[in-house]
Symmetry: C2
Subunit: 152 residues, 2 copies
DNA sequence: AATTTCAGTCTCAAAATAAGACTGGACTTG
DNA sequence: CAAGTCCAGTCTTATTTTGAGACTGAAATT
């Protein structure tokens, strides 16, 4: 009765969710994008139980999303920082943010926005596009199954 | 000791995860994008316990991601179909798919790809871009907190 | 009419979660 | 440098969630 794992599924979405598909992981990653690095800072920001946090951080380190860096302010403590793999989750978090902004706030409710740090202008809307930049709806795409590696 | 809820957090990411941030919801949505509509089809595809599935489907309907449609093939059963809100999750699923493809497959391992249905060409890479389409890294953006609604 | 499929609900054991007490090393400060 | 505080976890325990499957009743099939 172990919780099911999608780690070896064919579908990349399933594999991705296996790594960052739980209640807390993406919030940890979001905080990491905001510059949070220390255990205590995550804990305070998220209000998560320390045991949960410890487990999740370990899992994310093991998954290669975060890594334990030795210092940064000279102290002997270590810090959790995003790896390249973790930084690549930026689009995922941004997509979730966009969807949340679009659908999960009441009409007059104040909401935050992701903006270009240079000029403060909101970032462009995320969309799935064809190679020629034409926007594609979900029913204008399909999943091409497992193209067998030709060269290898 | 109920599982924490992010439903009323300020952060759109947290709110989004409150709706679709559990182990199964996004896989259900992914299957819905693939055309799955019936309870039994979801159950068979995902291998999820029926109780889980029933709970999740109800939650997604309640959240307005799916809706219960009366028929489609004439039978008396009903079907779960994506609402507009649910269809807007396409980018999220696509972003997860891209990340999974990039980071969660071994070198020679065959993998699927999301392609333009028209010509079979892979869709463009998802990226966060500025208003002028310039790609933005995570540290070239910031979150502008809760701009208070001026008009209302 | 009998059988099978569908779409769930119900039950139960195992696992995950939340909350916080506890531990030991780091840091401060007098 | 000794006492007290902070940091980063681990451990414990009560509660909730999950996974697996038995069970139910309506719908479809034969």
């Amino acid at each position: 009765m172990r919780r099911v794992s999608f780690g070896s599924a064919d579908c990349p979405v399933a594999r991705a969710l296996d790594v960052i598909g739980d209640w807390w992981s993406l919030l940890i990653v979001r905080d990491a994008f905001d510059g949070v690095r220390r255990f205590g800072a995550f804990q305070k920001n998220l209000g998560v139980a320390k045991g949960m946090l410890a487990t999740r951080l370990q899992a994310l380190v093991e998954a290669g999303v975060l890594e334990l860096a030795p210092a940064s302010d000279g102290s002997a403590y270590s810090e959790y920082v995003l790896t390249a793999k973790g930084r690549d989750l930026f689009v995922v978090v941004a997509a979730l943010r966009q969807w949340g902004e679009d659908h999960l706030f009441a009409a007059g409710e104040p909401r935050s926005a992701l903006v270009d740090a240079r000029d403060g202008a909101p970032v462009a809307r995320l969309e799935v596009r064809a190679a020629d930049a034409r926007p594609l709806a979900f029913d204008e795409t399909r999943v091409e199954k497992a193209r067998p590696a030709k060269g290898a």
